[in-house]
C-alpha cells in the first residue's frame, strides 16, 4: 500500500472568552491507499476537530496553528478556498453523525445529491439525476428514481445516512471521512450501515477514516486504530494489537470499561476514575496522569511523545507513555482497576 494522506504536527485551538482551548496538540498520522483507520476517543478528545481541520471545516472560533496535511503530496492547509472546494466532496468525502441535520429539509433529495456531481464532475442536470438514482440503489434504497423527488423527512434515520453515504461517494473520493456515522442509529441499523460502508470500500478501494467512541464497532471495520486523549494521539496500532496488546493505560482502561456480550457474568467493569482534563492550557505533563494507575514522577513533569513500543509485533505500534505497562498489567491479571 502506498501513502495517501499524511498529517504532520497538526495543532488546532479555539478562541474562547477566557483564552484558548487546545483541542488538537501536534497530531501526526498517515493513511495508506485503501486502508481503514479508526480514530477512537471520548467526547472532547479532539477526534472530530482533527478531521474537520483536515478539510478546514472548523467553526469560526477554531484556528489551525500549525501543521501540514498532505493529500497525495499537496498540502491542503496551503490551498486557497477555490482549490479547497475541489477537494471537499471531490477527493475527500464526508459523512457526519447526525443525518437529520446534514440534509436540507427544504430541498428534495435529488437536487441535493446532484449538486456535487454538477460541481465536481460538470455533469448535466439530467445525467446527474440519473447517476444519483443509481447511487441510491447502490446504497440499498430501492426505486431510486422516484425517491429522488422526495424530501429528507420522508426518509428514516438509517435511510438518510444511506443518502449521505451515497452523496459522499458520488464523486469517487479517495478518502472518506466518517464522523460517528452510526452513533445516532439503532443497533440493527448500525449493523446495516457498517456492512454497507465495508462493501463500498471493498468495491471502490476508498480509504476510510472512521471516527467513533465505540471500540466494538472498530473491531469489525478498521485496519489500524488511533486512540486520542486530550488532543493527543496516545496510541496507534494495527487493530489486532490494540485489542490484544494495548500499551497505553488509557486504551487498557477503555477496553476494560466495555461490557462484553459474551458475558463473563458477575465481574465488575474496570473503570477509569475521574474525568478528562480541561484543555485551557497546553499540558507540560502527561494529560492522563491524574487518572492513570501506573503514574510515576516523570509523568507529572514531562509529556511523553508517541514512540514505537518495545517488543511489539508490528513496527507501526506506537504509544505515548513513560511506563512499559506490560509487566504491570500481567501482575494484576491484565486489568487496570482504578476504583473511585
Amino acid at each position: 500500500m502506498s501513502e495517501l494522506l499524511e498529517v504532520q504536527d497538526l495543532q488546532t485551538r479555539f478562541k474562547v472568552r477566557k483564552g484558548y482551548v487546545y483541542a488538537v496538540n501536534g497530531v501526526s498520522f498517515r493513511l495508506e491507499e485503501g486502508e481503514t483507520l479508526a480514530v477512537v476517543g471520548e467526547s472532547g478528545c479532539g477526534k472530530s476537530v482533527t478531521m474537520l481541520s483536515l478539510v478546514r471545516l472548523l467553526p469560526p472560533a477554531g484556528r489551525i496553528e500549525s501543521g501540514q496535511v498532505l493529500l497525495r503530496g499537496d498540502d491542503l492547509l496551503a490551498l486557497d478556498q477555490r482549490q479547497l472546494r475541489d477537494v471537499r466532496g471531490g477527493q475527500v468525502g464526508m459523512i457526519f453523525q447526525d443525518p437529520m441535520t446534514s440534509l436540507n429539509p427544504f430541498i428534495n433529495i435529488g437536487t441535493q445529491m446532484a449538486e456535487p456531481l454538477l460541481y465536481h464532475r460538470g455533469m448535466s442536470k439530467k445525467d446527474a439525476l440519473a447517476r444519483s438514482a443509481e447511487l441510491l440503489e447502490m446504497v440499498g434504497i430501492p426505486d431510486g428514481v422516484a425517491r429522488l423527488r422526495e424530501y429528507p423527512h420522508q426518509f428514516s434515520g438509517g435511510m438518510r445516512q444511506r443518502v449521505m453515504i451515497a452523496m459522499a461517494m458520488s464523486c469517487e473520493p479517495s478518502v472518506l471521512i466518517a464522523d460517528e456515522p452510526t452513533t445516532a442509529l439503532d443497533v440493527t441499523i448500525q449493523a446495516q450501515i457498517v456492512e454497507l460502508v465495508k462493501e463500498l470500500r471493498d468495491r471502490s478501494g476508498v480509504a476510510v477514516i472512521w471516527i467513533t467512541h465505540d471500540l466494538s464497532v472498530v473491531a469489525g471495520i478498521a485496519d489500524r486504530v488511533i486512540v486520542m486523549y486530550a488532543g493527543y494521539i496516545v496510541e496507534e496500532a494495527p487493530v489486532d494489537a490494540i485489542f490484544e496488546d494495548p500499551r497505553h493505560p488509557y486504551t487498557v482502561g477503555l477496553l476494560g470499561a466495555l461490557p462484553s456480550l459474551g458475558g463473563e457474568t458477575g465481574t465488575r467493569l474496570t473503570t477509569i476514575g475521574g474525568a478528562p482534563p480541561d484543555l485551557a492550557e497546553l499540558p507540560t505533563f502527561c494529560p492522563f496522569h491524574t487518572r492513570c494507575p501506573f503514574v510515576i514522577d516523570r509523568c507529572r513533569s514531562e509529556n511523553p511523545m508517541l514512540e514505537p513500543v518495545s517488543g511489539a509485533s508490528d513496527r507501526g505500534h506506537r504509544a505515548a507513555c513513560w511506563v512499559d505497562i506490560r509487566g504491570v498489567t500481567e501482575q494484576t491479571g491484565g486489568t487496570v482497576a482504578t476504583e473511585q
Binding site: E42, S43, S156, G158, M159, D186, V187, T188, I189, Q190, A191, Q192, V194, E195, H213, D214, L215, S216, V217, V218, A219, G220, A222, V239, D240, F243, G253, L254, L255, G256, A257, L258, P259, S260, L261, G262, G263, T265, G266, R268, L269, T270, T271, I272, G273, A275, E339, Q340
Partner: protein
C-alpha cells in the same frame, strides 16, 4: 447482583396486559386523527432484588413501559401491581405514599436537573415533598446521599452546570435514593455518557443494589450493558414484549427471530472474532407504531415468517421454565 435467598424471591412488581395508546393528529394541518400503539398487552413480573433488563430499539415502547408502570402515564388498559397493591386507577393522593417506594432515573442528566436549583435542594426535594424532613432539615441526609453516590458532600451548595455528565447522573441517582425506594426504573441511565463514565455508573448502580436490596427495571438499547447488569432480560419490539428469559439463556439461546437478529447486529469488541463472525443483517426498518403490522408485528422483517404470522397475534407463552416467547415459529 440479585439476592438469592428465598425470602426475597418474591414478586415485587407485576404487570398484566399493560397497554398505552396515544392519540395524535397527523397530516400537514393535523387534520387526521391517529393512534400510536406505544405499548400493547405487555405482561411481566419483576422479582424482589433482581434486575430486569428491558431492551429494544428506539420507538419500541420500552420507555413508555417504564413510565406507564410508574403511573406517570395513565395506562389505556391493563393492570400494575406493586407488592400486593394494584396501583392502576389509584387516585394521586393514594399513589403518593407508594411513589416513595418507586423511583426513576432518566437518560439525560442535563435536562432532568433544574439549572436554578442547587443539587442539595434537588436531592432534598423528594424528602420535603414526602414530609420525611422539614424544609430546613434533611441536610445530614443530603450529605449522606451525596457520599453514597461518590460525590463530595460539600457539593450540596453547587449548581448543576458545575458538574460533568457522569457527576450529574450521580446526583440524579442520589435523588432517586432519597426516599429509600425499593424499586427503581432506570430509563437508559448511561446512554448519554462516555464509555469510561458508563462503567463507573454501572458499578455504582450495582453497589447500591447490593447495599440497599434494590430492585431495578433497567431500560437500555445497549445489549452488552444489559447482559452485564441484568438477571433476566425482556426484549421489546414495536410495543410488545417478544421474549423474556434469564439473561444467559436469552443471550446464548435466543428463541425469537428478532432477539436473534438483534444479537447478530451487536459488534463484538474482538477483531479476530469479528472477521470470522457471520454477518447476517436484518432487513428494513422498524415500521411505524401508528399503523403497526397485523398479526405478529415482526412478520414483515422476519426470516421465518410463514402462514399465520401476518394475521394471528402470536400467544405470549412460557416455552420452558421462565423462558417466555411470542412467536408462531418457536
Amino acid at each position: 447482583m440479585s439476592q438469592t435467598d428465598t425470602l426475597n424471591d418474591r414478586t415485587l412488581v407485576r404487570v398484566e396486559g399493560l397497554t398505552k395508546h396515544f392519540s395524535v393528529r397527523i397530516g400537514a394541518y393535523g387534520e387526521t386523527k391517529a393512534t400510536v400503539h406505544a405499548l400493547d398487552d405487555v405482561s411481566f413480573t419483576v422479582k424482589r432484588g433482581e434486575t430486569l433488563g428491558l431492551v429494544g430499539e428506539s420507538g419500541c415502547g420500552k420507555s413508555t413501559a417504564g413510565l406507564t408502570l410508574l403511573q406517570l402515564h395513565t395506562p389505556t388498559s391493563g393492570k400494575v401491581f406493586f407488592e400486593d397493591t394494584e396501583v392502576t386507577g389509584l387516585a394521586d393522593k393514594e399513589m403518593r405514599p407508594l411513589r416513595q417506594k418507586m423511583q426513576i432515573i432518566f437518560q439525560d442528566p442535563y435536562s432532568t436537573l433544574s439549572p436554578r436549583m442547587t443539587i442539595g435542594n434537588a436531592i432534598g426535594e423528594p424528602l420535603w415533598l414526602h414530609n420525611l424532613a422539614t424544609e430546613q432539615g434533611g441536610q445530614e441526609r443530603i450529605a449522606e446521599l451525596l457520599g453514597q453516590v461518590g460525590l463530595n458532600p460539600a457539593f450540596a451548595f453547587r449548581y448543576p452546570h458545575e458538574f460533568s455528565g457522569g457527576q450529574r447522573q450521580r446526583v440524579c441517582i442520589a435523588r432517586a435514593l432519597a426516599c429509600e425506594p425499593e424499586f427503581i426504573v432506570c430509563d437508559e441511565p448511561i446512554s448519554a455518557l462516555d464509555v469510561s463514565i458508563q462503567a463507573q455508573i454501572i458499578n455504582l448502580l450495582q453497589d447500591l443494589q447490593e447495599a440497599y436490596h434494590l430492585t431495578y427495571l433497567f431500560i437500555a438499547h445497549d445489549l452488552a450493558v444489559v447482559r452485564h447488569i441484568s438477571d433476566r432480560v425482556a426484549v421489546m419490539y414495536l410495543g410488545r414484549v417478544v421474549e423474556m428469559a434469564p439473561k444467559d439463556r436469552l443471550f446464548d439461546n435466543p428463541l425469537h427471530p428478532y432477539t436473534h437478529a438483534l444479537l447478530q447486529a451487536v459488534p463484538v469488541p474482538n477483531p479476530r472474532q469479528e472477521r470470522q463472525r457471520e454477518h447476517t443483517v436484518i432487513r428494513g426498518n422498524v415500521p411505524s407504531a401508528i399503523n403497526p403490522p397485523s398479526g405478529c408485528r415482526f412478520h414483515p422483517r422476519c426470516p421465518l415468517a410463514f402462514e399465520p404470522c401476518d394475521h394471528v397475534v402470536p400467544e405470549w407463552r412460557e416455552v420452558e421454565s421462565d423462558h417466555w416467547v411470542a412467536c408462531h415459529a418457536v
